[in-house]
Amino acid sequence: MGAEIGSALPELAIDLTPTFVVSTALATMDFTPVHHDVDKARAQGSKDIFLNILTTMGLVERYVTDWAGPEAVIERVAVKLGVPAYAGDRLCFNGTVVSREEGRFTVEVRGKVSLGDHATGTVTLALAEEGKPC
C-alpha cells in the first residue's frame, strides 16, 4: 500500500442494513425519526430510513483510518452531502491521496450509493512518523 500522491485507497463497501442505519443513528445520539422509523420516513417523502450525517462523517473517518492505521491523527473532514443513503442500499467508498507534505496527507474521498454520490470531500490527516503508511 502506497501513500504517494495519486495512490488509491482500497475500496470499502458497507451494506446499509436497517440494523446498520438504526444502530449508527442511536450510537450518534440522533433520534430523529427518519433514521429509525420507516413509516415516518415515508410520510416525509423518503423511500426508507436513511443514514444520518454524523454517521456519514464517522464512516468517512473510519474509511481513512482503516487505510492509514491507528497512528494517524485526523485533523479535518470536509464533506459535501449528496443523495440520501437509504437502508437496503450499499455505500462504497473510494479515495485517492491528493497531497502529501512532511507527514501530512490530504485524501479525497467519495462515498457512492445506487442513486449517486452520497458524500464527497477531503480528509486531512497527520502521521506521527513520516513514511507511514507504506
Binding site: 458497507i14 446498520f20 444502530s23 449508527t24 442511536l26 450510537a27 450518534t28 445520539m29 440522533d30 433520534f31 417523502g45 450525517i53 454524523l54 454517521t55 456519514t56 462523517m57 464517522g58 464512516l59 468517512v60 473517518e61 473510519r62 483510518t65 482503516d66 491507528p70 497512528e71 491523527v73 485526523i74 485533523e75 479535518r76 473532514v77 470536509a78 464533506v79 459535501k80 452531502l81 470531500g121
Partner: protein, 305 residues
Amino acid sequence: MSDEELHELAGKQAALGEVRGTPAQDPVNAPMIRHWLDAMGDENPAYLEKGVAPPAMAQVWTMPGVRRSAKDRSPVDDMIAALDASGYTGVVATNCEQTYHRYARVGERLTPATRFADLAGPKRTALGVGFFATWKVTWYGEDDEPVADMLFRVLKFRPRTKAAPAAADRPAYPLQPAINQDTAFFWEGVRQGELRIQTCADCGHHRHPPGPLCPQCRSANSSHLVASGLGTLYSFVVHHHPPVPGRETPFVVGVVELPEGVRIVGNVVDCPIEEVAVGMPLRVTYRPMDDQLVLPMWAPSKEEA
C-alpha cells in the same frame, strides 16, 4: 417574511456572535465510544487504548436524547423558524466540515457554542427555491480551548412536490413572461437570484429590456453583467383597475433606475402604498409566483443605490 426581512434577521443573528450552550450531559466516556465504534464497524484500537474519542464524535457528546429536547436556544433556531414560517419548510444538509484541534479525552465534558454565519438566497435549486443557511459550532474543553469546530450548511427550500400543501395552495400564475433567445439569460439569472443586465459585447453599452441589437453601435454580440440589486424609484403608478389575473389590486408598478445606468419596470412590494415615493431606495427581491416562475420585485432598502 419578505426576502429582505429574512436577510435582516440573518444579519441580527450573525451579530449575536458566538452563543454558548449548556455543557454535555455526560463527559467523554468509554461506553459511548465503544458503542459508536461497534456501530460504525471501526476497529481502530487507538481510541480506547489512548483514552480519546474518535474526533468525528465531537457532536455526539452534546446531542439531545430521545425525550430531552434542546434546552438552549441558539441563534440558528430563530432563523430556521423564520424560514419555516415563510414557506421554506424543506430542509436538506449540503455541507459538513469539521476541524479537530485535538482529540477529546475521556473524562472531559465538552461545551458547545453556536454562531450563525450566513444566509444566501433565494436561489433556484433542483429541490425548489430556497436559502442556504450556514452556521458554525465550536466545542470547548474544560480548559476553554476549542477541541473541534464544525461548519454546517443547510438548504431550506419551498418544497415543489404536488403533494406538499404550499404547492397545492398555489395555482399556476396566469401571466408568464415571453422567454426567447434574447431574454433567456435574464430569466435564467432570476432563477439563480441574479439580476442580469444586457451589455453590448462590442461597445460595452448597457441596455434593458433585452433585445437583439445594441442601440448604440448596432452590434448583435451581447453579454451581460450582474446588477448590484440596488435601485431608486424613478416613477410609479398604482394600479387599481382593471383586474389583473393572478394579482390582487391595488399594486404598485414602478420604474426603477439602477446605478448600472438602465431603468427596469417592476412591482414595488413590502411597502404601504401611501409610503411609496419617487426617489426611494429599493433593493431587488425575488418572489415565487407559482412552482415554476420567479419574478424580480422591489422592496424598500436602507442602502442608497
